[in-house]
Amino acid sequence: MARASTTSDAFNAIAEGARREVLEALADGEMAVNDLVARLGFTQPQVSKHLAVMRAVDLVTARADGRHRLYSLNAATLRDLYEWIKPFERLWNERLDRLDGVVAELAATHRQTSKGPS
């Protein structure tokens, strides 16, 4: 499934904390490498490497602006990521919400039992 593996590549790209920080910074608007270096405290080669990885999976786009390149988020890819993981997350949310109900019931019984007869 081509769509899924593309999405997955993007998901893996953002599994790393530093790349998430770059994405969060870009959420405020497009930036040049130097802006990101100043803001995040990473070295310029680090920032460039993260941007290259995220450009390769379409998480980030770049455009030329004079002598600089300005980077911005690709909202469509981020939305695809979310859409891809969402049904799986919903399945587990429903399952663990039911588990929560079972756990709450056991915990209530447990509290009563440990209090003993009054």
Binding site: A15, F88, R90, W92, L106
Partner: protein, 178 residues
């Protein structure tokens, strides 16, 4: 201080820590011992692992290292089954087991359940370690298929349950009868 019942509903978070892993995290307002019991006792697992529309028809748990487990449900006219073997048991903190979805028998994964208790709440973490990224992605995709089936099953009962499921806190709706 514990949250009110149901206040953590919908709070499970799924992340993909690496190319071959899935991680699921959820907090419970109970000691680890109780969460572990609900996770490993067949008559309790039956109450939460399957949905009301697709309940478990099989729930076998032989909780010892080397012991096997098997869950199954019926969807349409097919049985969907999952099984595996317990590899490490450190109740109530950690449980490692293999898992095979029987529709895809070559895709064995290793599940590690961790229960981390602090101040009366327990953080449950499940890490699913697949052998390949393709298997991991297929596992995520299966959520879409199961989710679609569930959605179809629920369309007609949605209205009835919406109120209760949301804890009667739906904006613009009348308050709960008390």
């Amino acid at each position: 201080m514990n949250q009110s019942p149901g206040s953590r509903f919908g709070s499970a978070v799924v992340t993909l820590p690496s190319a071959t892993q899935i991680q699921i995290t959820r907090v419970f307002d109970a000691p680890a011992e109780i969460v572990f019991k609900a996770w490993t006792t067949p008559e309790l697992v039956r109450r939460w692992w399957g949905s009301p529309e697709n309940p478990l028809t099989v729930c076998d748990i032989d909780l010892r290292v080397g012991g096997n487990w098997r869950y199954a449900m019926v969807m349409g006219d097919a049985e969907l089954g999952w099984h595996g073997t317990y590899q490490a048991i450190d109740a109530p903190l950690r449980l490692v087991s293999t898992e095979v979805f029987e529709g895809f028998p070559n895709g064995e994964a290793v599940n590690t359940l961790t229960l981390d208790e602090a101040d009366g709440t327990t953080t449950l973490t499940v890490v699913v370690q697949h052998q390949t990224m393709a298997n991991r992605d297929g596992h995520i995709d299966s959520g879409m298929e199961a989710g679609m089936q569930t959605t179809l099953d629920r369309l007609d009962i949605l209205t009835v349950h919406k109120h209760a499921a949301a804890g009667c806190a739906i904006e613009g709706e009348p308050p709960c009868p008390t």
